[in-house]
């Protein structure tokens, strides 16, 4: 019996297992009930692992999504930085263009009102020498530029052309030690020769110590050198002092003070007179005059008072005149040592005295009260 069981053990176990499951199945189908215990075991065994896997999955997805989001954000930030940089550069370029347009407009206006024939040009480079003050402009012999022509800006002279190439020209600046030009002072008409010193200041040489040059005085080209037409501004004197044999006069060249980007080459110069009045580089704003009815709004003058006079000196003169009339004094006629009029007398009282020398009636005493001061004209 034992050996028989061993012989069919596998099949027996199989049949037992299948039979048990069939019983289980039949029970469920027959009773229409579930074997909850087995399902609870299975679900309890599986779901925690599923929950862990789901947590790992969702966490991984979240991390990946965040990474991708941050990665995209970083890319977007990089793109925005690039865009910002590009816009900054563009903004700088447009500002520069606008300034250039303004300068060109000023050059054009100066060119239009100047009798000399000039050609506008742009500075495209500088010289290579350590101490040389040389620049290159983008107009050469093809543009009508010849060596020796004057180069200026509306503010003053810049230099002169030393070499003209087909498409460019070399300009020796006024600050170069080799530069020289004849100049004349605006106020005292003192002639001299302006020389560069290698830096931002120039010196006017060959002015006698006896001649008068003031600080702040402006120098203009004299037209003696055959390069610069007469009447172009050169600069203002910064230092003027007596020297050993000649006066030491230093000036700040006005043509270089606003930078050097666009210049004018004088193709055919026309001499102009030296301006008498100080030249103002920039226009000055003047306040418009007050409207005609503005004086009516001011405080009313006292009865019998004189109309307002223009300046403080006029008012002072009028006051002394009233004082003199009130006391019967004529200015300029009294002998030396005679009693001067009482200048402490109030002008209102002096005017009343001049009109009514007798003592005023009591009722009129109130009219002799000082009238309000007239508004002072600016």
């Amino acid at each position: 019996m034992d050996s028989l069981f061993n012989r069919y053990r596998n099949v027996t176990v199989l049949l037992l297992v299948i039979f048990a499951q069939l019983i289980l199945l039949a029970y469920q189908v027959k009773s229409n009930q579930d074997v909850r215990l087995i399902r609870v075991w299975a679900v309890t065994a599986v779901t925690p692992l599923a929950r862990v896997i789901e947590g790992v999955r969702s966490g991984t997805v979240r991390v990946v999504e965040n990474y991708v989001f941050l990665h995209n954000l970083r890319d977007e930030n990089r793109e925005l930085q690039k865009e910002l940089g590009r816009l900054k550069v563009q903004n700088q370029y447009l500002k520069s263009e606008l300034e250039t347009a303004d300068r060109v407009k000023a050059l054009s206006a100066f060119q239009a009102r100047s009798p000399s024939r000039m050609a506008a040009s742009r500075v495209i480079g500088t010289g290579t020498g350590a101490n040389s003050r040389v620049v290159f402009i983008d107009r050469g012999s093809r543009g009508g530029v010849l060596p020796g022509m004057a180069v200026i800006t509306p503010d003053g002279i810049v230099g002169k052309v030393t070499a003209a190439y087909p498409t460019a020209s070399q300009v020796l600046l006024i600050t170069d030690p080799n530069f020289a030009a004849g100049v004349i002072s605006q106020k005292h008409r003192v002639h001299g020769t302006v020389h560069g010193l290698g830096y931002s200041t120039c010196e006017v040489k060959y002015i006698q110590n006896e001649e008068q040059v003031e600080t702040g005085e402006r120098f203009f080209t004299s037209g003696d050198d055959g390069v610069f037409p007469k009447g172009l501004p050169v600069g203002a004197v910064t230092v003027a002092r007596p020297g050993d044999s000649f006066k030491q006069v230093f000036l700040a060249p006005s043509g270089l003070q606003s930078g050097l980007e666009e210049v004018l080459v004088v193709l055919e110069g026309v001499h102009q007179p030296i301006p008498e009045q100080p030249v103002s580089a920039s226009e000055m704003h003047l306040q418009p005059p007050p409207p005609p009815g503005a004086q009516e709004d001011e405080a009313p003058a006292a009865p019998g008072a004189k109309p307002n006079v223009g300046t403080e000196a006029d008012r002072l003169r009028e006051r002394y005149k009233n004082i003199g009339q009130a006391q019967g004094h004529k200015f300029g006629e009294g002998a030396p040592g005679s009693k001067p009029p009482d200048f402490n007398l109030k002008p209102e009282d002096a005017a009343a005295k001049a009109v009514k020398p007798a003592a005023p009636p009591p009722a009129a005493s109130e009219q002799s009260k000082p009238a309000p001061q007239p508004a002072r004209q600016p």
């Binding site: 034992d2 061993n6 053990r9 596998n10 176990v13 199989l14 297992v17 299948i18 499951q21 069939l22 289980l24 199945l25 039949a26 469920q28 189908v29 579930d34 074997v35 087995i38 399902r39 075991w41 299975a42 679900v43 065994a45 599986v46 692992l49 599923a50 896997i53 789901e54």
Partner: protein, 177 residues
Amino acid sequence: MRDSTDLRLITSARETRVTRFRRWGLVAVPLGAILFQVYIPRFFQFFQFLEMPLLVTVYFALMRRDQIGGTFIGASIGLVQDSLSHQPLGMFGIVKTLVGYFAASVGMRFDVDHLAVRFLLGLFFYCFHQFLYWVLARALLGQQVPFDVQQMFFVGLLNAAVGISLFHFLDKLKERA
């Protein structure tokens, strides 16, 4: 004691080549297969065609070459699969019990380490599993379950192909003598 010794002596040489697996592998791999079956198709419906618990049952039954062991492995995996399904308990249990038993029987007689044999066994047991389930569903539950032979064959091929890779991976879990 003596009977047990005699029993070992009379077993064939092939029967003595019982493959031993690590214990945690015997629990973790079927559990992983069940988890795969209930979890992965939620996100990738393409994997619904995979019958991972069946492939694991076949593998362990083939390798252990123990009919009783195969029977219990199939019954256990099938009952757990039943527990997570809407069907009454025992449907997958009975089917996989038979699959485990017959797979162990085949493993005792064939060299199941060969790829072609594994592929054919995977295909055969998938078709057997599906057919038996269809029969049980009709006979015991009275359900009109559709049965498409062509589709079954095609999906069986895919399962067999996946089974080759899975069996190769599970071979790493064998205990070395």
